[in-house]
């Protein structure tokens, strides 16, 4: 049994222009100790998928369909309170911009130890009633390290583990006193406080300098090895995927269009969109003209009953417009949502590895 099993997940948002289907019938599996990447452009639904797993989708959005099985529990059936208990404890999430993502008026040590105390990680040190009340803002109290020494100590340990130098001192500082890279480490420390089984990282390196990016990715790798935490990494950057992930899922317009082990995705991409993505990366070897994908991402309202990528696809043919394609098995761990791989269909082009060749299937009807 896997740690996380998602089936038929769909999440919609109600907007003035109509219903946006941000996540459309998504299946995903994350096993223990595994790092899975979700890759896609903005608007592909990858962040919304992550938020849906965490239960952080608020009005005007809601999960409309699907099962999210985590550690044997079906999260779609469970109460909001249970969801809250899981968050920060067994599953946690870090976000793109650490400077915006941490509370500017609380010290780093306060924020990390808060996670510990909120989930009763350390007996005897919990969130007390004054802290939760309005009055708590006005009543002067002893500092957190005095009132909850063990949580504080643990927070400092976590900060050391993620590579923050002089953690005892820095735990007493505020977010604005940290650099971007250090702050992201602090976010990670905060996310690990509850010793989660699953860590979801939404574009964790996008806001950081390139050199820092590598450091953070290495950190994630190390942490996974040390703690056995599974990681779900959301990114638009294929370079990041290569560094960290074991398996990758490619998303387009709310759907997963391909999943594969990471090397296979890069050496043998099946879905035309994936192929297009890979071709858009500038090559370090030759100086060729970039080949971007033509067209734009659809707007996710009133999606047609057809392959979502067909309008931009070089291999599009009649079959593509005959309903939404299902996932076809194109290898032992490799799935592709493209009718080109439908063995039952004689009109499918056999080897779409020959890029640029539009299929010339003969029409049956």
């Amino acid at each position: 049994m896997s740690l996380l099993e998602i089936e038929n997940l769909s999440t919609e948002f109600e907007t003035d222009e109509g219903v946006v289907k941000a996540v459309d019938d998504v299946d995903l599996t994350v096993r223990e100790g595994e790092t899975v990447g979700i890759v896609g452009e903005s608007g592909s639904g990858k962040s919304v998928t992550a938020l849906s797993i965490m239960g952080l989708i608020d009005s005007p959005g809601r999960i409309t369909d699907g099962r999210i099985e985590f550690n044997g529990e079906d999260l779609s059936e469970v109460s909001d309170e249970r969801r809250r208990e899981l968050r920060g404890d067994e599953m946690s999430m870090i976000f793109q911009d650490p400077m915006e993502g941490l509370n500017p008026v609380l010290r780093i040590g306060d924020q990390i130890s808060e996670t510990l105390r909120a989930h009763d990680q350390i007996p005897g040190e919990e969130i007390d009633w004054l802290e939760q009340s309005l009055l708590g803002n006005f009543v002067p109290r002893r500092s957190v390290e005095e009132r909850f020494p063990r949580s504080w100590e643990r927070s400092v340990e976590l900060m050391a583990e993620v590579g923050i130098p002089e953690p005892e001192q820095r735990a007493k500082e505020y977010p604005h006193q940290f650099s971007g890279g250090m702050l992201q480490r602090a976010m990670i420390a905060q996310a690990l406080a509850g010793e989660p089984d699953l860590l979801i990282a939404d574009e964790p390196t996008t806001a950081l300098d390139v050199t820092i990016q590598a450091q953070i990715l290495n950190l994630l790798n190390d942490l996974q090895e040390d703690h056995g935490t599974s990681i779900l990494l959301i990114t638009h950057d294929l370079g990041v995927v290569v560094e960290v992930c074991d398996r990758v899922a490619v998303m387009y317009a709310g759907e997963i269009v391909e999943t594969a082990p990471v090397e296979e995705l890069f050496t043998d991409p099946k879905h035309p969109y994936t192929q297009g993505l890979l071709k858009s990366i500038p090559s370090t070897k030759e100086r060729t003209r970039l080949q971007p994908l033509a067209g734009q991402v659809p707007d996710l309202i009133d999606m047609p009953d057809a392959c979502y990528f067909a309008p931009r696809c070089d291999h599009a043919h009649e079959e593509c417009y005959d309903g939404v394609p299902r996932m076809y098995e194109t290898g032992p761990n490799h799935g592709t949502r493209c009718v080109l791989y439908d063995e039952a269909d004689p009109n499918a082009a056999p080897e779409p590895g020959e890029v640029g060749e539009p299929s010339r299937g003969e029409s049956d009807d």
Partner: protein, 316 residues
């Protein structure tokens, strides 16, 4: 450290303003048509008496000399004598400060006690019925003239229902219960409009905070809604709200004039009014200076508190 420099800068900026305030307070007297003595004596003055008084009060000297003299006296706590009644202004002023302070202070307390919780409730339930009702009452509170409200409160609590005293002042330091009872109606009269302002500010800044990223992180940490609202959100939203509370003190200081008049409280406001009707301009000089000074100090304290509360400024 950034904080000390910030405080110092603010202090330094205070002085030119205080100087300007003193100039205006001083020159007020000298803009009175005819001159202060003439105005004080009215039709009873004959030219010799006027000249004599003018000499006595040094009014024939060049203005800047008068100003410096006056300023040095004031800094030593001496406001001189009223031309008309010859009473010692300093004594009168000193006696009038505590009532004014108490009225303004208790009005502030009222505005915080009502404004902050209602602002939070409004923001947390925004666009619900509770929010609309609260916002409507906020508008109402802003629009009711405080003298109208005062009279209405007197009518209801003083005459119809009764139970609360409607005139006079009792020092709460000496007689706490009676003192507070006498402050209730004045505090609510002044504090209502203030509450409305505080409530709206709290609401809008809380709504802004709710849309910040760190609130999403807090949810992702599995914190309860209550903890997130009261600890994470309110702490941030309080910062601009405190500024508003401080600025509002100015409004309160102005409003004491009306409230003291309605409730017959012997404070600086009432002193100013009677001085105006009695044409005791030097008294007006003194009260004006004092009130403006108090306001400036409160503003400074607010600025400092703002810097203190926001770690981004405090630890630069």
């Amino acid at each position: 450290m950034g904080f000390k420099r910030y405080v110092l800068k603010r202090l330094l900026l205070l002085f030119p303003v205080l100087l300007g305030v003193s100039v205006i307070s001083f020159s007020l007297v000298h803009f009175v048509p005819g001159g202060p003595v003439e105005a004080a004596l009215g039709t009873q003055g004959n030219p010799e008496l006027i000249q004599e008084l003018r000499n006595q009060y040094g009014l024939n000297r060049p203005l800047y000399v008068q100003y410096f003299d006056w300023l040095t006296d004031v800094l030593q706590g001496d406001f001189g004598q009223s031309i008309r009644t010859e009473r010692d202004i300093s004594v009168a002023v000193e006696r009038a400060i505590p009532p004014t302070f108490w009225v303004a202070f208790s009005a502030s307390v009222v505005s915080v006690l009502i404004g902050i919780p209602t602002g939070i409730i409004s923001a947390v339930n925004h666009y619900s019925a509770r929010d609309y009702v609260a916002t409507f009452f906020a508008f109402l509170g802003l629009s009711v003239p405080n003298f109208f409200l005062g009279l209405a409160l007197i009518l209801v609590f003083g005459l119809y229902i009764g139970g609360l005293p409607t005139t006079g002042f009792v020092d709460p330091m000496k007689h706490p219960i009676e003192g507070v009872r006498h402050l209730v109606l004045p505090a609510f009269t002044l504090g209502t409009a203030s509450s409305a302002v505080v409530m709206r500010m709290m609401r809008s800044s809380l709504l802004e905070v709710f849309s910040e990223e760190y609130i999403r992180t807090a949810k992702a940490k599995g914190l309860t809604r209550r903890l997130i609202t009261n600890k994470h959100a309110v702490k941030n939203a309080l910062i601009p709200t405190i500024t508003v509370i401080g600025l509002n003190f100015g409004y309160l200081l102005g409003g004491v004039v009306i409230v003291e008049q309605i409730f017959a409280i012997p404070g600086l406001g009432r002193l100013t009014l009677t001085a105006i009707f009695n044409r005791e301009y030097r008294v007006i000089q003194a009260t004006l200076l004092l009130i403006a000074f108090l306001f400036a100090v409160v503003n400074l304290v607010t600025d400092i508190m703002y810097a203190y509360l926001d770690p981004r400024i405090k630890y630069e």
